[in-house]
């Protein structure tokens, strides 16, 4: 709000001016638009709406309507690759550049595993599960300047992104969350305050099983052996030296993964988080335990 000199000058001026009080304050000139419609020479005549037609009557045509012509958007044949677009899963993009930005701004703690909840909490990413958004698509924009060693879990990632993260000695997993779990991850506090027990994460739908069980996409259901083989393959393809995870001082953190049925790090399905009393209530009934066990 203003440069330093202006602020200082204004405050110094105030010293020699009458006391700021209810009687001598005013708004900036021209802040408020006059709600009245001017007459005659004060903006009268057509009142700025032009002469005749829908402009004057301000009943504008709907978007795309061409007054009886075959409209542009109907003139083309169908584009079949868009068929069912409103039913498909969408992954709003989040780039490596933005990820690096929130890390540099200290809005993300990289000493812990990163998931969609921590990225949303940083304030740089948002998504709406009810618009068929199924989480983060980590894109390769800024892959060249990405320089953080992280354990990250996203919902979609390309080969370049996987390579960029593994080049820095980090770990990436792609994991599926059903919309209900995504609601919880988007605003965990709101869910905990509702007093419900944490549900189980659902398994991916049939058309997503392949992606999330594949080692190439670092799926969370893939065989760890296959993933470690593919890490080496990718390192050779992109020409970097693969960091040995076992020798890493942060080995524990880098190896932390969620259970396929787990939604929050450190919290298991079935638990109730009591924020008021700062305690966790765990199910004791054997039937409940069997239900929530994965």
């Amino acid at each position: 709000m203003g440069s330093r000199q202006i602020t200082e000058k204004a405050l110094t001026m105030l010293r020699s001016l009458p006391r700021v009080s209810l009687g001598n304050i005013r708004d900036n000139p021209g802040y408020k638009k006059n709600p009245k419609r001017g007459r005659g020479q004060h903006g009268g005549d057509k009142h700025g709406a032009g002469n005749k037609g829908s402009g004057q009557r301000q009943n504008y045509m709907r978007l795309g309507y061409e007054t009886g012509n075959n409209p542009f958007y109907l003139r083309m044949p169908h584009e079949h690759y868009y068929k069912g677009h409103h039913l498909r899963r969408q992954y709003p993009p989040f780039s490596l550049h933005e990820l690096q930005l929130i890390i540099d701004k200290d809005r993300l703690d990289i000493s812990k595993p990163i998931d969609i909840a921590s990225i949303v909490k940083s304030g740089m990413y948002n998504f709406t599960p009810d618009e068929k958004h199924f989480g983060i698509n980590l894109t390769d924009v800024g892959a060249d300047c990405f320089a953080a060693k992280i354990n990250i879990e996203v919902q979609w990632a390309s080969e370049q992104v996987i390579a960029a993260i593994e080049k820095m000695g980090g770990v990436i997993t792609t994991a599926y969350y059903d919309p209900h779990s995504l609601y919880l991850l988007r605003d965990p506090k709101k869910f905990f305050e509702s007093g419900q027990s944490i549900p189980r994460r659902m398994i991916p739908p049939p058309d997503a099983i392949e992606y999330y069980t594949s080692a190439k996409s670092r799926g969370y259901l893939a065989d760890p052996e296959e993933i470690s083989k593919d890490r080496l393959r990718l390192a050779q393809k992109y020409g970097y030296e693969l960091h040995v995870l076992e020798d890493d001082p942060n080995y524990e953190m880098l190896c932390e993964r969620k259970d396929p049925r787990q939604i929050f790090y450190g919290l298991e399905p079935g638990w109730v988080i009591n924020l008021k009393d700062q305690c966790i209530l765990k199910p004791k009934d054997s039937e409940l335990q069997r239900f929530f066990a994965s």
Binding site: M1, G2, R4, I6, T7, A10, L11, T12, L14, R15, L17, R19, V20, S21, L22, I25, R26, D27, N28, Y31, K121, G123
Partner: protein, 280 residues
């Protein structure tokens, strides 16, 4: 060459607040003066902290108990008069329900009968004696009772309203920091004399960080309608402007600073979101 220039500029800038500090050490015997170096959670950048005296309330004549630093983002912000004004308008309006009421032609008593025949009299045609054209008739577009003027000022305008007002008050020497609210007697004359002798203007707003003020000051201010006590969470632009002088206790000043700084440096998307009636 440039480094010399920069040094010169810096020395010019620093010389303004440091005069105060020199005056402090020379005028007051230093053994009783408390000067605290603050641990800033959000250190002031490019600007020096504002320095204020910590004063006392337990004697009529002013004693300076120490020096205290205030954060320039809160107490030395640009005094935006327009934002202060919008805050005042908001505070006046959000609780205002206007009960002004006029009757329409349907509500005014009578007027059901056609006053005279449509044709044949040479008079203008009328269907009701309560038509808006008639004396004693209904009112068109008049005020209707129960009209609320509630609206919510954007979150940061509320925040900057507070910083602007606090800064203006401090710049005009209308903000004083006292150590605590302990006064020796519960006599309101004592307080009135103290305010008169210190030239604090007739009306004074005293802000403490707790809900419970000491008994003496509560009793003493009870008889003085122009001296008011307020907890720190009640601090608002309108009250600050309504009173000539604002007295903050040291803890209240710190609490205001912490709270505003914390809000200025955190994610406030929730507070910035559109106000919903069921959110409180």
């Amino acid at each position: 060459m440039t480094s010399i220039l920069i040094k010169a500029l810096k020395s010019i800038y620093i010389s303004v607040p440091s005069q105060n500090a020199k005056f402090a050490t020379s005028a007051i015997c230093s053994n009783t003066l408390s000067i605290t170096n603050k641990e800033w959670k959000y250190p002031p950048t490019f600007t020096k902290p504002r320095e204020v005296w910590i004063e006392n309330l337990d004697t009529i004549e002013e004693k300076k108990l120490g020096l205290f630093e205030l954060h320039p983002t809160v107490y030395g912000a640009t005094p935006r008069i327009d934002i202060i004004h919008r805050n005042v308008i908001w505070q006046r309006k959000y609780r205002w329900v206007s009960w002004a009421h006029t009757k329409t032609r349907a509500e005014v008593r009578g007027g059901g009968r056609k006053p005279w025949p449509q044709k044949g009299l040479g008079k203008a045609r009328h269907g009701s004696i309560r038509s808006p054209l008639f004396r004693g008739g209904g009112v068109i577009h008049g005020p209707r009772a129960g009209n609320t003027h509630f609206f919510m000022l954007p979150f940061h305008l509320r925040l900057y309203g507070l910083t602007s007002t606090l800064s203006a008050k401090l710049a005009q020497d209308d903000l004083h920091v006292v150590k605590d609210l302990d006064i020796p007697s519960d006599n309101s004359e004592y307080l009135a004399e103290l305010i008169l002798s210190r030239n604090w203007g007739p009306s004074v707003l005293i802000v403490d960080d707790t809900d419970y003020a000491p008994r003496n000051i509560t009793v003493a201010t009870g008889n003085l309608p122009h001296v008011n006590l307020m907890p720190v969470y009640g601090l608002n632009v309108y009250s600050m402007l309504k009173h000539d002088t604002l007295i903050l206790t040291q803890s209240a000043a710190e609490k205001i600073e912490d709270r505003i700084l914390q809000l200025l440096h955190s994610d406030t998307r929730k507070q910035q979101a559109k106000f919903k009636l069921d959110q409180v």
